[in-house]
Amino acid sequence: MNTAQTQERPQRPDIPAGASGRPSGGRREKLVPALLVAVALAYVLVLLLGPLGGIIYYAFKSGLSVVGQTFTRPDVQHAFYLTFVIMLITVVVNTVFGVLMALVLARDRFPGKRLMSALVDLPLAVSPVIVGLMAVLLFGRGGWFEPFFAARGIQIIFALPSMVLVTIFISIPFVIRETVPVLQELGLEEEQAAWTLGASKLQTFFRVTLPNIRWGLLYGIALSAARAIGEVGAVLIVSGAIEGKTETATLFILRTFDQFQDQPGYIVALTLAVFSIVLLIGIEILKRKRTREAG
């Protein structure tokens, strides 16, 4: 656009340069960003805030008494409890193994490292339903590992272990993906300095490495916790969604819709949404700390 203007100028020397060209050009230059902002705003309003408003409306439609009743229902309480337990175990396991994986990926050199790095992302690319099916194939009736656990009286499928297992599988990439770049950025010198000062490898990890990666790691943990709370597909397949036994909060929502008793479903959904929003705000704060850490 600007080059067109400069080419025009010599042909019209009587008109001051830019007097004719700039306003229309300027308007057009402003129009595109304004449109983009409008689209973004519309997206947030229609697709994000709209449904949230809907949930809030339906959750409180028939009054607060229903809200109270819902939270005192044993199946609802158990569903929240189960979701919480799965999230807790997932977060602990993800933290330990995620950091170990990140250390290996960021620090060690071995053949097949690139393949391994790509495989870490696999759970993000595969549909959770397929993840659930894979778990059933391995641990379900006739599965490869089923005889081993069955002989010891440990139930995997239709029980907590398989639910935790698939949730970890799906959410651990967030921890690894957030931690690897921070470790790479950190480099080895601070750790080597700690070694020369007499710190053991364990001391070095807890006193030097971990404090340096803590914000990136926490960010990854928060993301994976959010993912763990919201998981439906994989958990549905492996759990069997047995009421009061293997039914998580999201599975409860699913059931209420099947049974046309919408309101308790909306109330539980709203609770999960509020929790996620709190987590999201936490993530944003961590993000800011993390960028400061990197800078």
Partner: protein
């Protein structure tokens, strides 16, 4: 508390690249020894092997009477200072300095008094509560040094400690390190590519090139009696001139210019001449050769001169103006070499010799030129 460092036949390869090739030397107890060489010469790898941060393929390392070859870095108890400081960025200055004492479970009172002692020593008492990113580069490196010294290491290893700092701070820290070393007397091994730094600080210099030791000697010997063409070219700025050796004399064209007793092979030879070792006279004399003054740049108390030999070779000279009466651009005068080091032409190649015989530019390492000048100016 000081022990000597001795390495024997150290070799280390990374893949097919041989970074360190059969290196042996000794760093005397209580003194500063410099490992000097261009980047990629393997000097840092040697230092890291002494610290235990790299494992040598072959060879052995002693500090004092103890063999360190297969010990972990933690067991060696050496002080190590990194080029980029490697301070713990989430700890303040106090915590950084105290780290080595804390992980070794020193008592709280001892740790605190030792930290205070070191902060005083490096002059950073007022900055004790600052974090590394609130300090200048020079201050950070002083913290790093205090941190390395805190556990009272037997030896101190410094890997290009001033490499990341600007010239002014580098000069200041160099003098400061010199003072500090006189006070503490800890055996120190300093890796540097800066020959001036090595010559100024160290009482012994080990020159490395392509993973091998070229020469290990005192600074004076390194400068005045280089053992190889590489050392002659790398340490101090040198002209590299082609000549011939006949009957123990170096010739440029038909002129006899210098004795070359210790050069056993001839007749083609390469003479290394420092710019301040080229003397100029108006008349022909003993062992002089004719040159043309192509350019004279007056710097106040001295001049830089670009000279051309009759056979087309260029020579760079640098002399006090008091010795240059009547020497002007375009003049035909006579040059005499105060001292020169002659090597056979087909020896190992030297950094400055790649374009030997080229006529456009004097073959001279000029990068150190300005620093040499400023440091001299400072002394007068």
């Amino acid at each position: 508390m000081a022990g000597a460092i001795e390495v024997r036949n150290l070799t280390k390869s990374f893949g097919t690249f041989c970074a360190v090739d059969d290196v042996s030397f000794e760093a005397r107890a209580g003194e500063i020894t410099a490992l000097l060489g261009p980047s990629g010469s393997g000097k840092s790898t040697v230092l890291r092997m002494i610290a235990g941060l790299e494992q040598p393929d072959t060879g052995r390392i002693w500090v004092g009477d103890e063999e360190h070859t297969s010990k972990t870095p933690q067991e060696r108890r050496l002080g190590f200072v990194f080029q980029h400081y490697a301070l713990f960025r989430h700890m303040n200055v106090r915590q950084n300095v105290g780290f080595g004492l804390k992980v070794r479970k020193a008592s709280r009172a001892d740790t605190q008094s030792r930290i205070d002692e070191l902060l005083k020593l490096v002059g950073l008492g007022p900055f004790a509560d600052r974090y590394p990113d609130q300090l200048s580069g020079g201050q950070r490196q002083r913290v790093a040094l205090a941190r390395a010294l805190a556990p009272r290491p037997e030896v101190l290893l410094l890997d290009e400690p001033f490499g990341a700092l600007d010239a002014h701070v580098r000069q200041e820290l160099r003098r400061w390190l010199d003072r500090l070393h006189r006070e503490l007397g800890v055996t120190s091994l300093l890796v540097t590519h800066d020959q001036e730094e090595a010559l100024e600080l160290a009482s012994g210099v080990v020159v490395m090139h392509r993973g091998r030791v070229e020469q290990a000697a005192s600074p004076v010997d390194i400068y005045n009696r280089p053992a190889t063409p590489f050392v002659a070219g790398f340490v101090g700025a040198s002209n590299v001139l082609r000549g011939t050796v006949r009957e123990g004399d170096l010739h440029f064209g038909t002129s006899v210019v210098a004795r070359a007793d210790d050069t056993e092979v001839g007749p083609s030879a390469r003479a290394y001449v420092r710019p301040h070792d080229v003397l100029l006279t108006l008349g022909r004399g003993d062992r002089t050769f004719p040159v043309t003054v192509e350019r004279r740049t007056d710097l106040g108390w001295l001049s830089k001169l670009q000279l051309r030999l009759d056979d087309g070779q260029a020579v760079f000279a640098q002399l006090p103006n008091a010795e240059l009466d009547g020497i002007e651009e375009g003049g035909h005068v006579y040059a005499k070499l105060r001292s020169t080091k002659v090597f056979p032409l087909d020896g190992e190649d030297a950094p400055a010799a790649s374009g030997a015989g080229g006529t456009s530019q004097p073959l001279l390492r000029t990068s150190d030129e300005n620093e040499t000048l400023t440091s001299r100016a400072g002394q007068t």
